[in-house]
Amino acid sequence: MQFEVLARCNTTRARVSRMVLAHGPTMLPTFMPVATQAAIKGLTSQQTEALGVSLILNNTYHLNLRPGINILDQVGGAHAFQGWNRNLLTDSGGFQLVSLSAFTQITEEGALFKSPFDGRMTMLTPEESISIQHAIGADIIMQLDDVVSSLTVGPRVEEAMWRSVRWLDRCIAHHQASGKTATQNLFAIVQGGLDPDLRDKCVNEMIKRKDGVAGFAVGGLSGGEAKDVFWRIIAQCAEKLPADRPRYSMGVGFAEDLLVCVALGIDMADCVFPTRTARFGVALTRNGPLNLKLQRHSRDFAIIEEGCPCPTCTAPISRALLHHQATHETAAAHAITQHNIVFQARLMGGARDAIMNQTFPDYLKTFFRQYFGKQGYPQWCVDALRSVGVDLLEGDSAQIPVVEGDHPNWEYA
């Protein structure tokens, strides 16, 4: 991997960088749409690339089950299988330890999964996870980490953190012995739950392994913890993680989450939210999400968002038509998915431009004003951005209320 920081924000900890992998460059900060089972749901690879996406995520656990390594080996990897010609990142399967925890048993050796599909038992060791990711052929591969739910308390959290460090060592060893380090780049994942002390220890340990990894991720979050805790962990980790490696916040997210993470020094994020919510009829805009299923959109001939360059808005397809088709026609799911992916990409692209032009604080204020101006700024966003020198309540925004709690923006009937 080539990784080069091109610009740094003078105020926040944001930076613009270029990451060049085996399947081309990806400008950071970026948002990665999730193609869990070797497809962004509803879209072909060409459609995804046409939206301006250069890096997507596949899931190791799922691809290992279906189609399986044999088939991937036969076709030459997941890129060739799904027709995706650009960069690919694979999650190690660690998150499935939490999401499918009813079916999982974790030991030092690895994780024993019972498949909810067919009851088969699969042992996932760090070495096995890396091997599977080798067969998949992703440009960025993730260590197998011992993930606990962010709401877990007690000694299990510390146990998982230390085990993640030990599993990182096993992943590094297995990866380096494979001879694939030139084309596939291993990332470490910082664990430690919501405990700043454990997080600090984990970051220190993983930085010691810096030469064995190409990047660092912050894992174990976005599991329902309070946003006020979330941003502090991100800030703590991003501050200490080396500046010459990309930093990846896993499972992020909503527009406000992404911008806060970028301000705190994060370069990459992934989340199923924009694509999943699209399939349920919700379109993302700078003025907040639009729940197109609501009656109020049934006669609105306007497009989702003026100025949006996505295939749906440029067709132009009206909110009224989407209202009638959403959740009934797969074509509508595809249309809103395309729009939401472009929304996320524009959000990050705009951030990159602003960081390079040293206008990122204004970009943040403008976005938050437009997105949250009516309902009030979430306290946690105000606090997080203040910690890096941006005051959302400055000037004209002083009279906008600030609301406690996580308060994601939503449109109700």
């Binding site: 081309g24 070797a38 301006g52 799922h62 067709a315 009224a320 038509l321 009638h324 524009r346 990159r352």
Partner: protein
């Protein structure tokens, strides 16, 4: 003002061809002079709620098979809106632009109801029809319906017709009403919106009359009636046939057998009735129906079987003549051949070929190829049929089948320009102006999608499988029609149709298996699966 016309191509051969098929051109000219043509025989892609199933707008644009589109008013949710929405769309071609189908690229045809929906409903009246919508049965009144649709500036409009909504059989009286109402509503439409000099919308009328030859002929004659000095039929672009309705009536009428004319008497006095094998195509000619129905009523067992004989003089080959031809022919009896002939609810390529050969249908629907895509079937048939295929070969492949997990070939080895076989190199939307882009120009064409990938998508309940298959199947259909047009006027056309009908399985057994596979995956991975999984786990533990 857009204009629309249908013109037959002259047949260069001096002798009359052995088939009823003909070549034609459906031409739409836009106000700016741009022209859209569909060479016939050809098809219109079906839509659902205005969308081509599974195809987002960029895929519709990338497809050459969606030039002609058919929209049904009932699925646009219009019938619940007050006032209806599409006519209010602020543009000169409201329906095109509301549905986002550029007038420069698409011919849009519209009818009230989806002919494939044969559910029964309360009976129609003199001034209304009952139509199934997403929210149940709705009453539609012809006058406002016609007025609203004309405001939408579609290119082809099928006038509202009185197709009986109750269960068959239909009495003579009911069919007479159908004839009166349909011709009356058509006359009313033409009185208020007489198409001037071929301006859009071109009007079609559904040829009603059920399976009564008398009624069908009567309706055709009703179209000869004059309105302000012109016959109704003169102002029509063409006529349409609802095949699903005919099949519903025939299915309800019970099993049929075919006998030679000279042994009819013997069969009528027999004590029992013998059924022919299920897959033999029978050709009812209704001149005999009344007599044979009486005979059946006299039969000892009282079973409702109907004796049919073929007395038609035009018999290219009695073993494969399309069973609905006698009804279509009765309707076309007094309709000028220059009128466009549209068939809706075809079910197979066999339907298409036989209807072209036997009745000269010009325009078909594509619902069956799109439905095949919805259940994981990639169509592979070609016309003329390859000589090396065994009889009753499948018309396509069911990609749910485990055999395809390791089949890394493209969908077809023949040239295909659909987005699955020849993916379009993407042109990435830029998201930055002052910082660098990460778009990468293509140096090579993208590889075709593999069967193993589409198999994987189907098994994991991924929607993109159906997008790829929908585009592919429409492309297969497009090549099918192009080949038909190429061979239509040759003396071998009839033979080629015969050979195709023998080579490929017209009952499409493949689709039954695919539908069952689709259902299995949907149960395992579709809506409601978490609840089902919980139940399964509880049962496994308990």
């Amino acid at each position: 003002m857009s204009t629309i016309s249908f013109t037959l191509k002259p047949d260069p051969s001096s002798s009359s061809t052995a088939t009823a098929g003909r070549l034609g051109t459906l031409l739409v000219t836009r106000p700016d002079g741009a022209q859209l043509d569909l060479e016939t025989p050809n098809f219109l892609a079906s839509t659902s709620r205005g969308a081509v199933p599974h195809l987002s707008r960029d895929h519709v644009l990338a497809s050459s098979s969606t030039r002609g589109l058919h929209v049904t008013y009932d699925s646009l949710c219009v019938l619940e809106q007050s006032p209806p929405l599409p006519p209010l769309y602020p543009s000169e071609r409201p329906m095109h632009d509301f549905l986002a189908y550029p007038p420069s690229k698409h011919i849009l045809s519209l009818s009230l109801r989806d002919t494939d929906d044969t559910r029964t409903a309360p009976t129609n009246g003199n001034d209304f029809v009952n139509v199934w919508t997403a929210r149940g049965v709705r009453r539609t009144v012809p006058k406002p319906f016609h007025d609203d649709v004309v405001k939408c500036h579609v290119d082809i409009l099928e006038a509202i017709s009185d197709i009986p909504t109750t269960a068959p059989p239909y009495s003579q009286r009911r069919l007479e009403k159908s004839v009166e109402r349909t011709s009356g509503w058509l006359a009313d439409l033409l009185r208020r919106h007489r198409p001037e000099e071929g301006s859009t919308p071109g009007i079609l009328v559904n040829m009603v009359g059920g399976t009564s030859v008398q009624a069908r002929k009567a309706f055709a004659l009703a179209l000869q009636e004059t309105l302000d000095g012109r016959k109704l039929v003169d102002d029509l672009l063409g006529v349409s046939f609802d095949l699903a309705h005919l099949r519903t009536i025939l299915d309800a009428a019970g099993p049929t057998i075919v006998v030679e004319e000279d042994i009819i008497e013997k069969v009528q006095t027999a004590d029992s009735v013998v059924l022919v094998e299920e897959h033999t195509v029978v050709q009812p000619t209704l001149d005999i129906v009344e007599a044979s129905t009486a005979a059946a009523e006299d039969a000892e067992d009282g079973s409702p079987s109907t004796l049919i004989a073929s007395t038609s003089t035009r018999q290219p080959d009695t073993s494969t003549r399309h069973p609905l031809v006698p009804y279509l022919d009765a309707s076309l009896h007094s309709i000028p051949p220059s009128k466009l002939r549209v068939a809706r609810s075809t079910r197979s390529p066999h339907d298409v070929l036989l209807l072209i050969r036997d009745t000269g249908i010009d325009l078909f629907d594509a619902r069956w190829v799109q439905d095949a895509a919805s259940v994981g079937v990639a169509l592979t048939f070609v016309f003329p049929a390859p000589s090396d295929l065994p009889p009753s070969s499948d018309v396509g492949i069911n990609l749910y089948d485990a055999a395809y997990a390791y089949d890394h070939q493209p969908l077809t080895s023949l040239p295909c320009d659909c987005i699955a076989c020849a993916p379009l190199p993407p042109s990435a939307i830029p998201h930055t102006t002052s910082s660098p882009s990460d778009a990468l120009p293509r140096t090579e064409p993208d590889a075709a999608y593999r069967r193993s990938y589409i198999h994987h998508l189907l098994r994991t309940h991924e929607m993109s499988a159906h997008a790829l298959l929908a585009a592919h199947n429409l492309s297969v259909l497009e090549r099918f029609f192009a080949s038909i047009r190429h061979h239509l006027l040759s003396s071998e056309f009839g033979e080629e149709v015969e050979r195709f009908v023998r080579t490929y399985d017209g009952r499409m057994k493949l689709l039954e298996q695919a539908r069952s596979d689709w259902k299995d995956v949907d149960l395992a991975r579709g809506k409601g699966r978490l609840a089902r999984e919980k139940v399964k786990m509880a049962e496994a533990e308990g």
